[in-house]
């Protein structure tokens, strides 16, 4: 029994263990560079868009392996709109953010309607958007700027919300707020874990042993504090991290605790059976793509703020990054299986590989080759593990 449990835990967290090993590998290969505070910071700021987009992609994929190919191009298009509103038209950032969100909602509704109610296959409906929005966005940019790029460097408020740091301090100082946030987060994790176990015990349900709970808490706290200390040394908490954490927590709750979230899984597992259980399956499909569009809007905020400009190349291949993060994170390409935690691990793993190889000075072309191999290996591993189990 004990042995089984250990191997179960290992299997369940296989990707997480791979992530840690890969991180250690790159730390060794870069003689510790990978472990520097600046690179922890880079890992988050460079990959924030993947976490947000992959969350939306996860919801789409759960419904039956459906994907959204248009999100990368839509980032470019919406960025152009944002640039025009804020810089060319001199509109306030607040109003611009709301208008951009409106555009996203309109697109999401149209896309969701086509896919859920007109039965257009998702990859075709979104392929149309992939082509059209890249063109439209580029056209808008060249019509409003001679360089094909609109600068947002003057929009201090906008940049602060989406790419700044919370209570920023100079790099060589330790950021107290950051450490405090880490401690608070750790405390919350520990307290909620123990409280949920206490409820389970009180009501007489099966609960994990105190030992495993303790080990889990210690590991979680160690991870959180490691990040807190590293980020404190890099100038503080990046605002995007707050956005990412908020989104991840919200969607983790939706997928694991709500009826709507449950229906995303059952539709992916068997849409007919779900419909015959009284669920409006079309509405769920609609919501999947509306939600995707909204998360794409948030991605656009993050990306344009980070580059401080709207570019015609913005968002290139983002859709593929998001799909890859999901697949590496164990989200089923056929739908019905996968979770937010896995997706986060998958996205981080790809981010770590990217960063590690860049630090090692691996040629950008070869980086793509490695990523392709990792993606395939993850899926093969998943399918083989599944076969072994059954």
């Amino acid at each position: 029994m004990g042995k089984n449990k250990v191997s179960d835990v290992l299997k369940k967290n296989a990707m997480l263990i791979v992530l840690v090993l890969v991180y250690i590998f790159f730390t060794v290969m870069t003689s510790g560079q990978m472990f520097q505070a600046m690179n922890f910071n880079a890992l988050i700021t460079q990959n924030a868009y993947v976490f947000v987009l992959a969350t939306g992609m996860l919801m789409c994929m759960l419904t039956g392996g459906n994907i959204d190919l248009s999100c990368g191009s839509f980032v470019c298009f919406l960025g152009a709109i944002g640039g025009i509103l804020m810089t060319t038209k001199q509109m306030s950032p607040g109003l611009s953010i709301i208008l951009m969100l409106l555009v996203g909602v309109v697109y999401g509704c149209a896309l969701g309607y086509l896919i859920a109610y007109v039965n257009i296959p998702p990859w075709i409906a979104t392929l149309a958007g992939y082509l059209a929005f890249r063109g439209w966005g580029t056209a808008l940019l060249s019509a409003n700027s001679s360089t094909g790029s609109i600068s947002l460097a003057a929009q201090k408020g906008f940049l602060a919300i989406f790419s700044g740091k919370v209570f920023s301090t100079p790099v060589n100082q330790t950021n107290i707020v950051c450490i405090a946030a880490g401690v608070i987060a750790s405390a919350i994790v520990v307290v909620t874990s123990f409280m949920s176990r206490a409820t389970k015990v009180k009501k007489g349900y099966d609960a994990e042993s105190v030992m495993t709970l303790l080990i889990r808490c210690v590991l979680s706290v160690a991870a959180i504090m490691l990040f807190a200390v590293k980020l404190a040394g890099a100038g503080g908490i990046p605002t995007v991290l707050i956005w990412v954490i908020a989104i991840v927590l919200i969607y983790d709750f939706i997928t694991s605790r709500t009826t709507i979230g449950r229906y995303f899984y059952t539709i992916g597992g068997n849409a007919e059976a779900t419909r015959l259980s009284g669920v409006d399956t079309k509405k769920i499909m609609f919501l999947a793509y509306l939600n995707m569009a909204i998360l794409t809007v948030i991605t656009t905020y993050i990306v344009t703020a980070r580059f401080q400009a709207a570019n015609s190349t913005a968002g290139t291949n983002y859709e593929m990054d998001a799909i890859a993060a999901c697949v590496v994170g164990g989200v089923s390409a056929y739908g019905g299986a996968g979770n937010v935690f896995g997706m986060v691990v998958g996205a981080t793993l790809i981010g770590v590989i990217n960063l590690g190889m860049s630090l090692m000075g691996v040629d950008a072309n070869w980086q793509k080759v490695v990523k392709g191999v990792v993606l395939l290996a993850a899926v093969v591993f998943d399918i083989l593990a599944e076969k072994k189990r059954s």
Binding site: T199, R257, R262, T266, N270, A273, R275, L276, S332, G336
Partner: protein, 517 residues
Amino acid sequence: MSDYILEMNHITKEFSGVKALDDVNLKVKKGEIHGLCGENGAGKSTLMNVLSGVYPYGTYSGDIVYKGETCKFKDLKESEAKGIVIIHQELALSPLLSVAENVFIGNEQTSMKGVIDWTATRKKAQEMLAKVGLEHEDVNVPVNSLGVGKQQLIEIAKAMAKKVDLLILDEPTAALNDEESKKLLDIMLELKNHGVTSIIISHKLNELEYVCDALTIIRDGHTIETLNKGVDEFTEDRVIKGMVGREMTNRYPVREGVELGKVIFEVNNWNVYHPDDGERQMIRNINISVRAGEVVGLAGLMGAGRTEFAMSLFGKSYGQKISGTVKINGQEVHLNSVKDAIDSKLAYVSEDRKTYGLVLIDDIKHNMTMAALRKFFSKKGVVNANDEIVSAEEYKKRINVKANSIEQTVGSLSGGNQQKVVLAKWMLTQPDVLILDEPTRGIDVGAKYEIYCVINDLAKAGKAVIVISSEMQEIIGTCDRVYVINEGEIAGELNKDEVSQEKIMQCIMAHNRKGGE
């Protein structure tokens, strides 16, 4: 030396311990048309799958002697190479490809390696069509532009193109009208004159009587008898007796002390049209009523329209232009969606648990709570996972789902246990009226008994239960009252004391004759 083209001796085939075929013998003479009949689930199709290599040699015991040699087919290809071709109930045509292409699917006419010779394809397709009486058809039109009857004939033409010696037809006329059926049967007689031996599986006994030289009756995986035309009595009544004449043992738990209450489920003047064809009426003026604590059966042959009727009731999940009224607990309800149906306390347990009932990759507890999640396991959209666990454990115990835990994936369970999970799923919606469509299809005898016990418990709890089953014994064994449905209409209503398999069959036959005129 022997005048038998095919001898299947002592065939026994088990599915996870359950014998689907038990020492079955089938002998077919060269050049005859041999009928195979029996109730649904008697083992006819299994026997044909053994013959054609769908179940490879080694997965069954007994031997097959074909044209004097013992055969050990590993797959369909090997049996086809020997000239044995099986045409299944479901058409295996590619709807958008042309008639000519379909005739030579998997058997393409090629000039060089892998290059299709279109001239030869069309010319030969025309020849094959002539053999099945379709010489005037254009071989270039897509096959779905033809009617079902002609498509069935094209299946036969396809078989002819493979140089067939033994043709097996599994319910070829199930989807055909009388005229089309007659034509198909005449083609079979024509082929017989050309030396083709055929085996035909059919429920339509008058057709078997018309076309067959010999008839083998299978019941519960055993061969009962073989009747020869001109030697034995060869009438419908005789065949029915052979098909149903088995002793009744206590395969059905007794239901005692159930007081029938008021009528709590009532359907009046129910009419439904085919979902793709607004002209074709599938259900015609059906009226039924069920009292609290009563178990009512819907008997009939496959394709009689019982499932269509049930699904059209269940939130209009089937058909179009639905009309009629439904009353539950005395109140008229309008069930426009499955959600309405569930909220009005109606539950429908589908005949096809894998396609319509379960999420196979998910676990037992999630499957059990799936339909009741919104009403009973959540508050403001947030799932109460602990309640789910408690209820799933309770039902697992109550209806004896054999599994390690409620976390086990449903896909890994046996058919019987999957069926129990589906039952639990619908019981958890706390319905007053349950429609159970083929509740014991494909599950073993022990699990069947347990399901019957659940049905009894439901009746005792004052629910109205409707059982749809193609196994007449099951209907007789479990129901207080039976409606016989045939071709979308009620062909008769029988009370517990008068119901018998012969009576049900007679209702169907009488209704068929009336419809034929």
